[in-house]
Amino acid sequence: MTLKQGRQLQTVLLGALAWLVALTIFFPIFWMLLTSFKTEIDAFATPPQLFFTPTLENYLEIDERSDYFHFAWNSVVVSFGSTLLGMLLAVPAAYSMAFFETKRTKSTLLWMLSTKMLPPVGVLVPIYLLFKDAGLLDTKTGLVLIYTLINLPIMVWMVYTYFKEIPKEILEAARLDGATAMQEIYRVLLPISKGGLASTVLLSLILSWNEAFWSLNLTASSAAPLTALVASYSSPEGLFWAKLSAVSTLACAPILIFGWLSQKQLVRGLSFGAVK
């Protein structure tokens, strides 16, 4: 075996290992997916069954019981809305902190994160009262607003790290080329940090999509997102695992598919070979 083959073998082995790890980590989700096609009895069978007669009854029941698309649409609007709004706020902030660093930068960053430290259970009532007075209860606007706020610190932090990786000469070059701050951001910074931004967007989408405390407590019916749908299938009296699996599958399918589609953006081979 030559070394070249050795290297190839090594790549194959590493690939195999990566697959193994990925499949292990994915297994619970796979199992959930599998369970969603079982009957409730099969779902709880001992030993757990890998092979069974698949049934669509869970999905049919969900379809019959709930207007999936109503919830899904709310989720889409709310999470994309808040992500968009969040990015609009976070990118300039991160830009300013990464490239015009002052003595306050570090403490500002920290402070931003500290706004997330108040546990939701501790502020439920104040927020509920505020929302009630503002007429935001059970509105998508309200959810967009609150998600933007709770995810903003994280988005700023993430975008900040990705911006920090970029050699500042590249921006200086853009500045000399006559780019305004906005052009600098949109024409140079964003394309370069596309991978990082995609991660940030995805993360924000996921966090908003899955957020289950505020979405359940601040909505009733018209603005209820998929978390509410899931909550209507989790832990009722009686066997529910298959149905829960089905509804969870449905609930995370859109975002999972979105993640799938965007994975190319997530990791874009980028080298700053243009500076030395």
């Binding site: 990786e165 991660s199 995370c252």
Partner: protein
């Protein structure tokens, strides 16, 4: 200063020169301020208003189920919360949970990020598989783990144990905290992977080449090149996860309900069972504030430890 020779130029620039030498610099800093301030202002409002209300509520008796009985009670809510029997356990468990999950997600996250940085067949799919646990809602993942995987009778783990002839483990009564840590880590490792995976790309290939020539094997490269490069993203993972982990609730609520005993009661759950269950807003506020203080302490300690990585430019 004479501008007479070139009136046209002179007049156009006169204002710029005469008003202020540092006009431009100020404009610059104003611009950068203008860029941060929207975020800062909304967050300030978002923090200040509830915080003020919380502060106020924490000083009065305020139970939703006893309306009208809102007298000022001073620090009673705080004393009550802090003297709770479960408080020490809550603190320790919070710490234990946060630290273990942090450790696991950073270590595993870094390893995975490095692993998937080399090209191999189906890397795109592997990436999505790896981050997918993050797509699952916390309650759901807790339920799936509890009932479908870790259940001592019908769970997949039990089946595996039995397959190898071992006695299935009753996770939630024998190793309740470990089980929670397992579940929470499963959800948060992908977060670390996502962040670090992206950060890996900006690692200059030539640096690795240089290190290879310097005789660094894969491990040395990892240790001396990759890891320092990942310092900042790791710092960010640590900070962000800490904030989330400090308030882990759904996973505990759905699996162990904080038990057995105080084994899995963390601060967030303590606030829930102490205050929110009986809608004692005053007490919940006090608990919330205690949590804020603790989170801040944790954050400050963390910043001390990792802060340099945060703003340092490599």
């Amino acid at each position: 200063m004479s501008t007479s020779s070139l009136p046209a130029e002179g007049t156009t620039h006169a204002s710029a020169t005469s008003t202020s030498v540092h006009e431009e610099r100020k404009r610059q800093s104003r611009l950068s301020l203008a860029m941060v301030s929207p975020s800062v202002l909304v967050l300030l409002a978002w923090m200040a208003v509830p915080l003020a209300m919380t502060l106020y509520f924490s000083l009065i008796r305020y139970n939703l189920l006893y309306p009208g009985d809102n007298e000022f009670v001073g620090l009673e809510n705080f004393t009550f919360f802090l003297t709770d029997e479960g408080f020490t356990a809550g603190m320790t468990n919070t710490l234990l949970l946060v630290c273990s999950v942090l450790l696991i997600s950073v270590v595993v996250g870094v390893l995975i990020a490095v692993l998937v940085d080399t090209p191999f067949w189906g890397r795109g799919i592997v990436r999505v598989l790896l981050i997918s646990p993050f797509f699952i809602m916390p309650t759901v993942s807790a339920l799936v783990w509890k009932n479908l995987l870790l259940h001592p009778v019908s769970g997949v783990f039990a089946a595996v144990w039995r397959f190898f002839g071992a006695e299935p483990i009753d996770w939630f009564s024998t190793y309740p905290m470990e089980a929670i840590i397992l579940i929470v880590s499963w959800q948060w490792v992908p977060f670390a992977v996502l962040l670090l995976m992206t950060a890996m790309q900006s690692l200059d290939q030539e640096q690795k080449d240089a290190a290879r020539l310097d005789g660094a094997g894969p491990i040395a490269i990892f240790w001396h090149i990759t890891l320092p490069h990942l310092a900042r993203p790791i710092a960010v993972v640590v900070m962000i996860e800490t904030i989330f982990l400090l308030s882990i609730f759904a996973e505990i609520f759905t699996t162990t309900g904080g038990g057995p005993g105080y084994e899995t009661t963390n601060l967030a759950y303590l606030i829930y069972s102490q205050a929110l269950l009986q809608f004692d807003v005053g007490l919940a506020s006090a608990g919330g504030l205690v949590a804020v203080v603790l989170a801040n302490v944790a954050a400050i300690i963390l910043i001390r430890m990792i802060g340099k990585n945060l703003t340092d430019k490599a």
